[in-house]
């Protein structure tokens, strides 16, 4: 009978005078939340790393088992608060697929616009904090300035700035007006120029290149071993994106590229995310151009959400990667089990494979480049 492993004890071998253990986190400016990395170091080189998670565990999956599907809807934004809109709308779409609810056209377009704006704001935050970690503090403020614009636009229609509860089963809760569409179009025009500026200031900066080129290579083999998804996967050259592989909503109507890069290093991940922001702008522009008139909520949504018995799975492309919801229903109001498959969980678990051999300063660069959000890991 397998016994669980013994609890962690102080492991410093008194005979070992050459290496030492150091804690990074859980309170640390660069771990992007409450993540603890137990590092085994030889000078500045990392020999081993043991990530300790769970500091942000809020029992979302347990909550799902004690609430009905509509009551769980506000939780979804909080799982990954930076792509809150995508998670929220994704959950709605999961339930709609299970219940075979048809969503009006206008709502689908609004979802696309809001989802992609959310993706841009999440990538902007990543960009700002990444540069902050590397020491280029000014970029943080520039990125947040742009992010404010997105947050203001989304605030005007949803009422929230970060954790949105905008989706409803069958559509979205509020219609958007022409002011919204115009501000979205204006933002898109403005932001295209800003991306150019960011490329000039950051991507072409020699110190930035030195810090990120060849650092933290996550190759294609890691994709198979760990199921790495999202920009981390695309930076290794694999063109896989949930929006193209299993299109949901009306993504199949939009013309956009899956941005990839070669090398799988931090620089490649940076380039993928910058490219993704541009692609999102393209999608938004197409959506604003083509959005039809109509209702934003399906006319006949069942009062009681009771998905058919058995397992359901639904995946969306969140800012960080493949977010999946595995729901086991027994035909009642409350799910038997709702598993949230989050991308950052996998990405942090790759750290013991990626970090050893790198230097301490690289840890910060690599952690920043994989773009993790701790609440998503701990749920």
């Amino acid at each position: 009978m397998t016994q669980p492993a013994p609890t962690m004890e102080l492991v410093q071998d008194p005979e070992d005078r050459d290496t030492y253990y150091m804690n990074m986190g859980p309170q640390h400016p660069s771990t992007h939340g409450v993540l603890r990395l137990r590092l085994h170091l030889d000078g500045e080189r990392i020999l081993d790393v043991d990530p300790v998670i769970g500091y942000g565990h809020r029992a979302h999956e347990k909550m799902a088992e004690n609430r009905d599907y509509l009551q769980f809807l506000p939780n979804t934004s909080r799982i990954d608060y930076l792509s809150g809109m995508i998670y929220n709308l994704g959950y709605c779409q999961a339930i709609e697929k299970a219940m075979q609810i048809e969503v009006p056209e206008r709502a689908e377009y609004i979802r696309i616009i809001c989802g992609e704006m959310n993706r841009i704001s999440s990538h902007l935050l990543w960009f700002g904090t990444y540069l902050l970690d590397l020491g280029g503090i000014t970029a943080f403020l520039y990125a947040f300035d742009d992010r404010e614009k997105i947050l203001d636009i989304l605030d005007s229609v949803t009422g929230s700035r970060l954790t949105y509860n905008y989706g409803r089963f069958g559509g979205v809760s509020m219609d958007v007006d022409d002011t919204f569409l115009r501000s979205v179009a204006d933002f898109s025009e403005y932001f295209r120029k800003r991306i150019e500026e960011y490329h000039k200031l950051v991507t072409h900066n020699v110190i930035f290149r030195h810090r990120t080129r060849g650092v933290g290579v996550m190759g294609a083999d890691l994709a198979l071993d760990y199921a790495v998804t999202g920009p981390c996967l695309r930076a290794a050259g694999i063109a896989s994106d949930v929006r193209k592989d299993e299109p949901y909503g009306i993504y199949d109507r939009f013309d956009f590229d899956v941005v990839t890069a070669e090398g799988g290093d931090c620089f490649a991940r940076h380039m993928v995310r910058m490219g993704e922001m541009e692609q999102s702008l393209g999608i938004i522009e197409q959506a604003v151009r083509d959005i039809p008139e109509g209702p934003v909520l399906a006319p006949k949504v069942p009062k009681r959400i009771r998905p058919p018995e058995g397992e359901h799975y639904f995946a969306v492309e969140a800012a960080r990667g493949h977010f999946g919801m595995y729901i086991r229903s027994d035909g009642t109001d409350v799910p038997v089990r709702q598993k949230l498959r989050t991308p950052s969980f996998v990405h942090v678990s790759t750290m013991p494979a990626v970090l050893p051999g790198t230097m301490l300063a690289d840890t910060v660069a690599i952690l920043g480049s994989i773009d993790i959000v701790i609440p998503e890991i701990d749920r």
Binding site: T2, G54, E65, N66, A227, I238, E246, R379
Partner: protein, 176 residues
């Protein structure tokens, strides 16, 4: 039928069903025994499939299962999507078998299965708790989970009848 199906049959899956993707988001469901999982996982790995996640369900109250069930989800990388779920029944005193030697990504998922449901995983390199503190007692995602700390337990919203009875007694004492 998927390209992997023949390999899976060889690897020892017990039964396979095709599912409508548009209804369920899955394409195939298989059942397997815990001991066969490494070989099954190997078959998927050889075909270039990745492990999307491992989950456990507490189905001890469900007649057909009467125990835990560990679900492994595999998928092709890229398109077209070909999602397989392999379901492994694990009785209350039985153990699952680790596939961490085949898929290193399974390491943390199996730790979480142990942490949340108390299902031990044979052959796991480092079976410690993942989300809860290491010295925590109890398995939170079990249906009969009772937190040691009664106050914390009340706040989680799970109400058990025996407990409700105890509350009435306590209220009576307070009034007196």
């Amino acid at each position: 039928m998927s390209e992997v199906s023949s390999d899976l049959a060889l690897a020892g899956v017990q039964s396979s069903t095709d599912i409508d993707f548009d209804e369920r988001g899955l394409q195939h469901r298989h059942e397997a025994l815990a001991g066969d999982m490494p070989v099954v996982a190997g078959a998927f790995r050889a075909a270039g499939y990745c492990l999307e996640h491992i989950t456990c369900l507490d189905l001890r109250q469900v007649e057909e299962v009467a125990g835990f069930r560990v679900d492994y989800q595999f998928n092709r990388i890229g398109s077209p999507v070909d999602r397989h779920v392999v379901q492994v029944k694990v009785g209350e005193t039985e153990t699952a078998t680790s596939i961490a030697s085949v898929y290193p990504g399974a390491d943390w998922y199996e730790r979480e299965v142990f942490d949340m449901h108390g299902v031990l995983v044979d052959g796991h390199p480092n079976l410690k708790r993942l989300l809860m503190p290491e010295d925590y007692r109890g398995y939170p995602l079990r249906k009969d989970f009772l937190d040691e700390d009664p106050e914390r337990h009340q706040m989680s919203g799970v109400v058990v009848e025996a407990e409700a009875a105890q509350e009435d007694v306590a209220d009576g004492e307070d009034e007196a």
